[in-house]
Symmetry: C2
Subunit: 254 residues, 2 copies
């Protein structure tokens, strides 16, 4: 038993080394540039040996995608927990989480593009990815639910009329579906999430080039403006303390 476990351990270790190497390669060559041969070469293995661990390039990609989703979600959860622990209000929590997601994206540009950019052609994401994919959404939904509970969410000027536009699963993401006058908050939350990802992608993909002067301040302003869609007030005063993003995406991914 023990020795068998030893073999499995060795196998797990090598599997981890493969994904790590692949992730490093992803950061320099992009998703479509991910080469099994190059991974094998860097590890000093024959390319065929990798197929003992990942039966295809797609399976390796899936592993990387799940890892990326989890990393983003874990970042969001950690930052929100810290903010909540520091007694921050819902607006500050919201901004902090959004900043943290952007920070992660700037630090892991190709990984972010892997999950939120153009899908890799011929690749079909298995259902294993949906769980990790919702972690970030869950954090954001929880903040909005807290805002409702605290009574600090401004009801919308123009509510989205029936019928509801999001599925039951989404409405249930932050517990029970909100009651009047907050019935359309799930729809509005979806817009906020879409815009968060969209704003990051826009920056990452280079479309902000020559259009924006201060990327950090602009991002904060975007979050402030879009949060208003859900009636959430985001304070802009606190000094920028991006979690880990040091460089801007001025140049974008290669």
């Amino acid at each position: 038993m023990e020795v068998l476990r030893a073999r499995d351990l060795a196998r797990a270790e090598l599997t981890r080394q493969i994904t790590d190497t692949a992730r490093r390669q992803l950061a320099t060559a992009g998703a479509q540039g991910l080469s099994l041969r190059a991974v094998a070469r860097e590890m000093g293995l024959a390319s065929s040996a990798l197929y003992r661990y990942f039966s295809s390039r797609d399976h390796l990609l899936t592993a990387l995608i799940i890892d990326a989703y989890n990393a983003i979600g874990e970042t969001a959860e950690r930052v929100d927990t810290a903010e909540r622990g520091a007694g921050a209000g819902v607006g500050s929590r919201w901004l902090a989480v959004c900043r943290a997601v952007r920070g992660w994206a700037l630090d892991h540009q190709h990984e972010f593009a892997l999950v939120y950019g153009s899908p890799v052609v011929g690749y079909r994401a298995p259902s294993d990815t949906v769980g990790p994919a919702t972690r970030t959404a869950r954090v954001l939904a929880d903040i909005l639910a807290t805002a409702i509970a605290e009574g600090v969410l401004r009801p919308p000027d123009r509510p989205i009329p029936e019928p509801r536009l999001v599925t039951r699963e989404v409405r249930a993401l932050a517990g029970e579906a909100p009651e009047a006058p907050y019935e359309d908050v799930p729809e509005r939350a979806m817009v906020l999430l879409t815009n968060l990802v969209g704003a990051i992608n826009f920056e990452l993909f280079g479309h902000l080039h020559n259009t924006v002067t201060d990327y950090d301040r602009y991002f904060d302003a975007v979050i402030m403006m879009t949060a208003a869609i859900a009636g959430l007030d985001v304070p802009l005063e606190p000094a920028m303390t991006q979690e880990s993003a040091t460089r801007s995406a001025r140049s974008g991914l290669q």
Copy 2:
């Protein structure tokens, strides 16, 4: 002279045939799947012959990108001109243009992903693309400028304070920079454009899967909600007359 012109004509014709074939192949294989050899094979040419017309795969990609930008911009311009001719208000014009852009994106998913999705690795867009890229933005900026001129744009509740966050070129996109209380409209317009692209990408990339019940109505709601960021009222009542989008992107790109 005449004969020489005949030769140039033949060359132009073949060039067009190449881009058409490449575009068709783009729709089935994606940007990174674009293969010069496959294009040549489909045309009954030797792969090497294509290099007489496009000195590299990147040059062919650039041509496709410029074509896509122009097609989107031309769609936006045409729809807006038609709406304006029909006496539509700024809100209706805005919605119509956004719908048209989404419609084009749904009909040309991989082309849209080519310009607004993850950049192709190793590809550096030449400056030739910036002109066509701003056509759509110009249309949207013009609508907002009209809204200001007509006095129907609601001033923001929380203006973006100085300093301005967008470059002078962007501020000048719709003529003169707007005056108080509309100084921050360019920033807000940027958010609207980002969100338009982001919402389409989110749908195209499959992230709306299992979260939204009615893609068309949801998109309209998104546009209505985000337009409010700039103080623009978008009417939702008029029947959905998507320009050319017939199928939804429920499945997304392959």
